[in-house]
């Protein structure tokens, strides 16, 4: 993974959509990047 920022990472959570293989995150990545 590329390092995004020098600031600390305080939390990390997976988005549930990718885990369930639904389409919302695919749409999100395709349209909002």
């Amino acid at each position: 993974m590329k390092k995004e920022t020098e600031s600390a990472i305080n939390t990390l959570k997976f988005h549930p959509d990718g885990i369930h293989n639904n389409s919302f995150t695919k749409f999100l990545l395709a349209n909002y990047k």
Binding site: T5, F14, H15, P16, G18, L28, Y32, K33
Partner: protein, 151 residues
């Protein structure tokens, strides 16, 4: 390999920065900035994936974000001296559980307080059961409590 298509995760950083990472490209896909610029402590996604909440250090505010609009759509303001530790959605996305000096349950649509449970020490984790009958909380003393949602 593209076996991770659609798999993303979020990270909360200092100065109000929230990043959404695309595991497939191994890079940040979306950057969001919280208005108050406080350090992000916790984020939690709703089960349908459209929303997430964020909490900030030394803040009494929980921000509700809409990922489709990529902005904060509601703020839940706890009493002024509260410091929010954590926030979690229930499995239906109807309620948000908030850990602070005590534990609070808020309605997502109206942002009205549904339930409030006293705590001996500040609450730090909260999880709902799948049937929405109770939620578990822990505090900094190491106590674990089972709380009925509608008491």
């Amino acid at each position: 390999m593209t076996i991770f298509i659609g798999l993303i995760f979020g990270t909360g950083h200092n100065h109000g920065l929230i990043c959404l990472w695309d595991i497939n490209s191994q890079d940040v896909a979306i950057k969001l900035n919280s208005d108050d610029s406080n350090d992000i402590l916790k984020i939690s996604f709703s089960e349908n994936g459209y929303y997430f909440v964020s909490t900030s250090k030394n803040s009494n505010v929980v921000n509700l974000w809409d990922l489709r609009k990529q902005k904060i759509i509601r703020e839940i303001n706890l009493p002024e001296n509260s410091h929010v530790e954590n926030a979690e959605f229930d499995y239906f996305g109807n309620s948000i559980g908030i850990c602070a000096d005590r534990s609070y349950i808020y309605n997502v649509k109206t942002c009205e307080l549904v339930s409030e449970i006293d705590s001996i020490q500040n609450c730090n984790f909260l999880k709902f059961d799948r049937d929405m009958e109770y939620f578990m909380t822990t505090n900094f003393n190491g106590d674990i409590r089972t709380n009925l949602i509608f008491n």
